[in-house]
Symmetry: C2
Subunit: 207 residues, 2 copies
């Protein structure tokens, strides 16, 4: 029994090690360069394995990155699933701003990996699809929140919740990429505050 497992493990171990070596190398090479300019040759060289080996373990560059993305994805999903049950409009506003901040902060923390992901989104169909998953999960979640706020009389009911949710998420997403590219001058707090203010109470004065 024990020796049986050991033997199976020994063989699997090599596989796992090789896979791991490839992932470590891939992360390094991706981060040192771009997604586009990174080649399989660079990765296998760094990993110290043969060329064909990469294709035994992964379908190509794309899949390598997808596996590397997984941790980051999980963290995004966590942010998406934060509870939202405000009693008043003020509370809602506060919670929304907090979530926007958390979203942008995550971008800041995972900047390096997300820089690569953004590049890959442009090039790789499969990674674009993966990102879309995250997006749709957020949007679905936000739609629920909008419906909740409408149901409890906090939010106006004349607007399609899904359309509202998409618009709100899109603004946040684009700022996310600006944060990743370090293109933004304002602080995350100010961005979140501004977006939330417009989203919840609008830009124009009302009496």
């Amino acid at each position: 029994m024990k020796s049986d497992d050991m033997k199976i493990d020994k063989r699997h171990l090599r596989t796992i090690r090789t896979r791991e070596k490839l992932l470590v190398a891939a992360r390094e090479v991706f981060l040192e360069n771009d997604f586009q300019t990174t080649t399989i040759s660079q990765i296998i060289k760094r990993a110290g394995v043969g060329y064909g080996t990469a294709y035994v373990h992964f379908e190509g560059k794309d899949e390598l990155l997808i596996v590397l993305m997984e941790d980051v994805m999980d963290r995004f999903h966590q942010v998406a699933e934060q509870p939202f049950e405000p009693g008043t409009a003020e509370e809602a506003k506060k919670q929304i701003e907090q979530q926007a901040t958390a979203f942008l902060r995550l971008a800041e923390q995972e900047r390096e990996m997300l820089r690569i992901v953004e590049q890959a989104i442009g090039v790789s169909y499969i990674i674009r699809a993966k990102w879309k998953q995250i997006r749709e999960r957020f949007i679905e979640r936000i739609s629920r929140d909008v419906r909740y706020a409408q149901g409890s009389g906090l939010a106006r009911s004349d607007l399609n919740p899904t359309l509202v949710a998409r618009g709100w998420f899109f603004a946040n997403e684009m700022y996310l990429f600006e944060v990743i590219r370090e293109e933004t001058t304002a602080s995350i707090e100010e961005i979140a505050k501004t977006l939330t203010a417009v989203y919840t109470t609008g830009l124009y004065e009302h009496d």
Copy 2:
């Protein structure tokens, strides 16, 4: 004099013709396929010219598309430059909704070309930069409008106009791409109406 010009023209004419043949062919091939899968070989074959010729006239696929983009770009710039001088918040709202509608309608009209452009944005640095130009022009324009509305007391003054403008444009831009991909279920009118409503007066009730 006349014959002089004629002779110069005759030589130039060949160049112009070749260039034109390449552009026509490129448009066709791009539209029949994707940006990524389109190759120079396909284009020159369609244009009926030699391989090297393409590189004499254009630096590569990217530049070919940039030239093809120009018309569409111009139309976007036109939309961006529509006047905005509302007297009341109601008027402002109306004008903003109109511009959002015009923006999305343009996407619908130029869908085919913009589909290629979107793909190219992901792959090509230079085309990404070109798109960024359009974006910044819009954002700058919107920032001015926000400042105007703030100055005339129509809009709240406690928010950074540029941050607001970016957020607003981002939401519109993402919907633009959804329209291009024909991924949206709602009509352009409803999208514009919803985005504008949230942007101008906010999602939450106020007394």
